[in-house]
Symmetry: C2
Subunit: 213 residues, 2 copies
């Protein structure tokens, strides 16, 4: 199943299902129909059945999905049962807020280190992670076989630092710099959060409202 | 054209096209073919032609797209030519980093105010915006007809504050709390950036690599 092709749109919805299933589990719900799940996710039951059919059948006609096992299967597909090693590169406000607000362990990730070039930040702690001098970053990545680098530096340095990360053998870059990071032929995965894209999508939907303009 | 239906996936790609077209314009490129644009965006030329056909024809067979006019049309579709009034609700690290890193003016937005409940933050400045007491938020929204609220509070308060924003007549909530904000029947637009969803997508693509597991 692991290598089976699943479309980007389905992958984009999986974490959403996961959040809903966690809520349901916390509420003590053991089974849910595609209809109920649709009502909670704003998707159609047929869309949901179609999404889940991409990676095998969980539901039984008229019986619904087992919340716990569906949740575990989605978590497995998303690689949450693997321990990803993560470093933070750029410990400014955005980087710090990510460390404070994201429960990496729950997502199957382990934060191993944080790096910056600013002397006033080196040696300070973010949570229980001490900020190291970026000069030691490449060796750290090689020694610890780091999987993911969170790139949250000033955008001015984004490209040069990304090159360094790729050269050091990082496998994925989680990019918050608003710059377009091109992994070239490296095969490195780049997942970017472009804040401005999201705001422009919101702006579009505003402009579609009857009372707009 | 404004009311014409454009699929969510096309809308999601428009800001990406916009960034590329801005780069091209800055580089002095006047025309580009769907093939070149595809190479720069990682999309197929046919996908690009299909996307642009959703809102009228810009290209000419064998002649390519006019970068400037295509850029302006996309900006118009995204509502960037409208002045959206924006407030920031929750002036912690994430909120502050958004103010520092996003050029609201360029995106057709104007930051009008910032609000928090923490006495130590009220009266401080973020850029040239003074943080106000959240108790005055509803009146401020009504008086200034605020369009968009950036919700970047502690997730504990997310739902109650969102209710207050909706009651005050906000038109859209840009949600960074990692909570699911339900606008109910209000018609308020909610655009959420779920950091953990993005990290899980990245984790999925890592798990698809040959050398993984």
């Amino acid at each position: 199943m692991k290598k089976a092709y699943i479309s980007k749109n389905v992958i984009r919805r999986l974490p959403r299902y996961l959040r809903k299933l966690d809520e349901l589990r916390a509420a003590g719900v053991e089974r849910i129909s595609s209809g109920e799940l649709g009502a909670r996710t704003g998707l159609t039951p047929s869309q949901i059945r179609q999404d889940f059919s991409c990676f095998g059948e969980f539901g039984q006609q008229g019986y619904g999905y087992n919340v716990a096992s569906l949740r575990e299967e989605i978590a497995h597909i998303l690689g949450m049962d693997l321990q990803r090693s993560v470093i933070l590169v750029g410990t400014g406000r955005i980087g710090q807020s990510l460390i404070e607000n994201i429960s990496f362990e729950r997502l199957g990730c382990r934060l191993m280190g944080a790096f910056d070039i600013r002397p006033e930040l080196i040696g300070t702690c973010i949570g229980d992670i001490a900020v190291q001098n970026a000069s030691g970053m490449r060796n750290f990545i090689r020694e610890h076989g780091i999987d993911i680098a969170i790139l949250s530096t000033n955008r001015t340095y984004a490209h040069s630092i990304a090159e360094g990360l790729i050269a050091a053998g990082i496998r994925a870059i989680w990019n918050f710099t608003e710059e377009e990071i091109d992994p070239g032929e490296s095969g490195v995965i780049v997942e970017s959060i472009h804040f401005s894209d999201s705001l422009l999508e919101l702006s579009y939907y505003l402009s579609q409202q009857r009372n707009d303009r």
